[in-house]
Symmetry: C2
Subunit: 173 residues, 2 copies
């Protein structure tokens, strides 16, 4: 498909909205309302006994404490996805990882928004040299036992975290 | 948390944006830019040999043919999530199901948008009485062999579909 026209109709802090006119290969055209949001990273950080999660308020969905994997927006100019993931793991959990692996790259809601995410697996975890994490007072660090992984999947209601935990569940069988 | 104020700053066809002021339990306040989008349903439809997927263009992310599970917005007034899923399965795949089960309810991007989804598992599939599906000319129906489920997970880059296929993968081990 080819973009013929693009009109920005809202330009906010992180989100913007545009109306695009597109032409498909067969010549037909269509108009779409598209929400734009920065790409992001998610981190499946675990050792042989625990996976590291966070609980935080999510104002957009009215939740006081949603269980999630560590994650963050790619909003530092020029920062690569892996660097961003390393920074977020240190900031949210206070850990560095000896081993990083890209698990998956995917779209969150491709029907209407352009956000995409790199999901990394981080292992060989160690405390960061800088000491304690500074996750902001509203993020609680949760060290979840792998022996109770099914309960984490049950409690979790966040798409990226479900993908990460289900990958791990598959691996561990 | 409590919402103190809500200002709509964009009101589009499907998406809207508002700036909310919130107060947490401890008295601190915060302002958030929140995108609103209708809730949705996704359907993991399978029998003992195949899972039913679709390939369709996703203009928001510039993809000509994204591999996904059947899904749709809850945009018919008064329609329950299960009814919506039954309608979408008939429209997109031309099937009805004898057995429906709610697998999971989750948020797609709780950090910035309020969209949430009910994921259903549909089994005991039969062709709909109405005959052929009318998925619109840009949706291709894909009958994917369960024996090659890992390849579907590999090819898939859509969050809801990854969740559904990873659940199925876990079930089949």
């Amino acid at each position: 498909m080819k973009r013929l026209r693009s009109d920005k109709v809202y330009d906010g802090r992180y989100s913007s909205v545009r109306i695009d006119e597109l032409r498909y290969e067969d010549g037909e055209t269509a108009e779409r309302e598209i929400v734009s949001h920065p790409p992001a990273v998610g981190i499946l950080a675990h050792d042989a006994e625990h996976v590291w999660l966070v609980r935080q308020p999510r104002e957009a969905v009215g939740e006081d404490a949603l269980l999630e994997i560590p994650a963050g927006k790619l909003d530092v100019e020029g920062e690569a996805p892996l660097e961003c993931a390393q920074r977020e793991l240190a900031e949210e959990i206070g850990k560095s990882a000896g081993e990083w692996r890209e698990l998956k790259h995917f779209y969150l809601t491709p029907g209407w928004a352009d956000e995409h995410m790199w999901l990394f697996e981080a292992t060989e975890l160690a405390d960061t040299a800088e000491g304690e994490a500074d996750p902001g007072e509203r993020i609680e660090i949760v060290r979840w036992p792998l022996a109770e992984l099914d309960a984490a999947i049950e409690q979790c209601s966040d798409a990226k975290s479900l993908i990460a935990l289900l990958y791990l569940r598959n691996r561990l069988r």
